[in-house]
Symmetry: C2
C-alpha cells in the first residue's frame, strides 16, 4: 500500500502533534452532492447500490475529489449486519430503513447466525480495498459499524422508531433475551470491523445512534458494555500503524466520563455540549470528534465562520480534536458551504497548534 | 372554591414537608384508558374534542376517577396558541399535529396577533373552571402551555420534525426574525397561563419538548431566556396560595444549573439522568419532577416495583420530588400497571419522608 501523505486525522486521534485540525464530515458522501445524486441513479435500489463495490467506491471518493478533506469513510450502511443475518433490509422513500422480518421473540433470536464478513459482507471489504487503491495514500480511510444496541433497535422495531417501545418492552420484560441478541451482535460487529481493518480500513468508528434514549444504567448495561467488548477485541495495529477507534453515541453528553473508560481513542460529540466542557470531563483519555450543529451549514458564510471559530475556540489549543458535524450532513446543504467550512477549519485552526 | 384536601403536589413543589411522594403522569388522560377512547369517539376531530369544555373536562377527570393521583392536569394541547393565531391546526392519524399555514417568512410573522385568552382560547379557561368545580378540592389542577421555542418549531416546520432544519435555518440565517416570533409567543404564553391561573389552575407547567435539539448557547438564547421571562411575569399567588411553575425541557440533563436559575419552582427531568445527580446539581433551588422511563410501564409488576424503588432511592430523603414519567405515557400501557405504579410510589416513598 502507498505511504500515507496526510495522517493528521490519525495523529489527532492519538493526540500527537499536528499543524492544523483535521476535518471530515459524517455522510460526506451523500445526497447534498449533485454528483452523488447522479451516480445514485445508476441503480434504483439503495441496497444494491451499497452492495456494488464499484458504485460504493465511487461514492466514497466523490467528496474527496471536490474537497480537501482529511479522511475518507467507506460508503455503506450501518444495517449491513442485520441484512446479512437474513432480516430482509429494504429502504422506503421518506421513511428510511425497514426490515421484512423483524425480531419479535426469543425464537427469532435463536435462529440468527453470525455473518461471515468475507462472504456475506464481502462487498464492504471489497469496497474498502478498492477505495484504498484509488486513494493512493492521499488520506486515511475509515471503516464503521452500527453499535449492537443501535442495530438491535432497528431489528426489533422493524425500522426507525420514536419511542423504542418494542425493544424497551423486551428490555424491561425479558432482559436476558435482549442480552443474548446483543452478545451475538457484539461478536458479529467485532469480526466485521476486524475484516474491514484487514481489508484496509485505517481507523474504525462505532455509530451508536440510539444509545441516548436509555437511562444511564441501561446505557451502560445494554449499549456501552458491548461497545467496550468490541473495542477490546479489535485489531490493535495493521500495516505497522495503530488502528484507532472512535465511539459515537448521539446524546451522550452526560456520559462522557463513562465512555472515555472504554479505551476508545476518540469520542464523537454532538452539538448539545460545548467541547470545552467535554474536554475538561474526558481529560487525556480520548480525542474528541465534532461538534458543529449540522444546521449551521444552512446559514450564511459569516455565520459558518463564527460557528467554526467558536467550536475551535471551545476545544482550545493542542492536538486531540477532529472537526466534524455533530451528526450527518443534511441533503439540503449547499455544496459550496462545505468547501467554505473546510477552508475555514484549516485556516483558523493553525493558531491552536503552534507550540 | 372548596378547600384543597390533598396538597402534597403543591407542597412538594415548594419543598415543604409531606408524608409521601406525590405522583401524577404526563398524558394521564389519554389513549391507554378505554374510557378515554370511548369518550373520544363522541367527536371524530381531535381539535373539536379539545375545544368542547364538557368533553375536555370529562377527559381530565377520567384518570382521577380510576386512580388515587395527586394532581389533575387540564386536557388540552400545547398547540392551542398557534391555532388561535390562525395557523390552521389539524391532526393526522399517525403523523401528529400539522399546520395548514406554517410560518415561512418574516412577513408571515408580522401578520400574527396575540390571542385573547378569554375569547380565542376561552374554551381552555372554561374547561379549567369546570374541572375545578367537579374536583371539589380533591387534588390540585395543573394548567400548561408549550414553550415559545417549542411552539415556534411546530409553526415553522409545519408539524413534527426530525432535524428542525427550517427553524434552525432561520435561526442561523435571520436570528432577529426568530427572536421577533419568540417575543410574540412569550407574551402570548404569559397572558394565556395567567388566564388559566385566574380561571382556577393551581400550578402551571411549561412544556419545552424540543429545547433539547439546540446547542447550549442557542438553548439559553432561543428557549430558556424566553421561559424565564414568562416565569417572571406569571401571577405569583391566587386564592391565597402560591401558584408554582414547572419547567420541563426534554433532554436538558446538561443544563439543569441554568434552568434552576430561572426561578422556576420545579424542573421536569427525563430518564436519561439519575435524580441523585440532578438533585446534587440543582441543590435547593428547585424541586424535581420525574423521571421514570415511560417504557417501564410495559414491564412486569416486579420490574415496575424495582424501577420505582430505584427512582425514589436516587432522589433520596426529604421533600422536593414529584414522581412522574420522564415523558408522556404510551398508549400501549396496560391501565392496571398505572394503578400498581401509583400504589408502589405511595407505599415505598413514605420512608423517605419521616423526620
Amino acid at each position: 500500500m502507498p505511504v500515507l501523505q496526510n495522517d493528521r486525522f490519525l495523529r489527532a486521534l492519538l493526540r500527537q502533534e499536528i499543524d492544523y485540525t483535521p476535518v471530515w464530515i459524517m455522510r460526506q458522501a451523500g445526497r447534498y452532492l449533485p454528483e452523488y445524486r447522479a451516480l445514485r441513479k445508476k441503480t434504483p435500489d439503495f441496497l444494491t447500490f451499497c452492495k456494488t463495490p464499484e458504485l460504493a467506491c465511487e461514492a466514497t471518493l466523490q467528496p474527496l475529489q471536490r474537497y480537501p478533506l482529511d479522511a475518507a469513510i467507506v460508503f455503506s450502511d450501518i444495517l449491513t449486519i442485520p441484512d446479512a443475518m437474513g432480516l430482509g433490509l429494504y429502504f422506503t422513500e421518506g421513511e428510511g430503513p425497514r426490515f421484512k422480518n423483524p425480531i419479535r421473540s426469543i425464537s427469532d433470536i435463536a435462529k440468527l447466525h453470525i455473518p461471515d464478513p468475507m462472504d456475506d459482507l464481502g462487498y464492504v471489504c471489497q469496497t474498502i480495498t478498492m477505495v484504498r487503491q484509488h486513494l493512493q495514500g492521499k488520506v486515511p480511510l475509515i471503516g464503521f459499524a452500527g453499535s449492537p444496541w443501535t442495530l438491535a433497535t432497528y431489528m426489533i422495531e422493524g425500522g426507525s422508531s420514536k419511542q423504542f417501545e418494542n425493544i424497551k418492552g423486551m428490555m424491561y420484560r425479558e432482559p436476558n433475551s435482549l442480552h443474548q441478541l446483543l452478545t451475538l451482535l457484539t461478536e458479529s460487529v467485532t469480526i466485521y470491523l476486524n475484516a474491514q481493518i484487514a481489508s484496509g480500513a485505517q481507523a474504525v468508528m462505532l455509530f451508536d445512534t440510539w444509545g441516548g434514549v436509555l437511562t444511564t444504567d441501561d446505557y451502560r448495561d445494554f449499549s456501552l458494555n458491548y461497545m467496550e467488548q468490541i473495542i477490546n477485541d479489535l485489531t490493535w495495529e495493521h500495516e505497522g500503524r495503530r488502528v484507532p477507534v472512535i465511539l459515537f453515541t448521539k446524546g451522550s453528553g452526560l456520559w462522557l466520563e463513562m465512555i472515555a473508560e472504554t479505551g476508545c481513542d476518540g469520542i464523537g460529540v454532538d452539538w448539545t455540549i460545548p467541547l470545552s466542557q467535554a474536554r475538561e470531563r474526558v481529560g487525556h483519555k480520548a480525542a474528541l470528534q465534532g461538534n458543529l450543529d449540522p444546521c449551521v451549514l444552512l446559514g450564511s458564510k459569516q455565520r459558518i465562520y463564527e460557528e467554526v471559530q467558536s467550536v475551535l475556540n471551545s476545544y482550545g489549543p493542542g492536538s486531540g480534536h477532529i472537526f466534524n458535524l455533530g451528526h450527518g450532513i443534511l441533503p439540503s446543504v449547499p455544496p459550496e458551504n462545505v468547501a467554505y467550512l473546510i477552508e475555514v477549519v484549516h485556516e483558523l485552526s493553525q493558531v491552536y497548534h503552534r507550540a
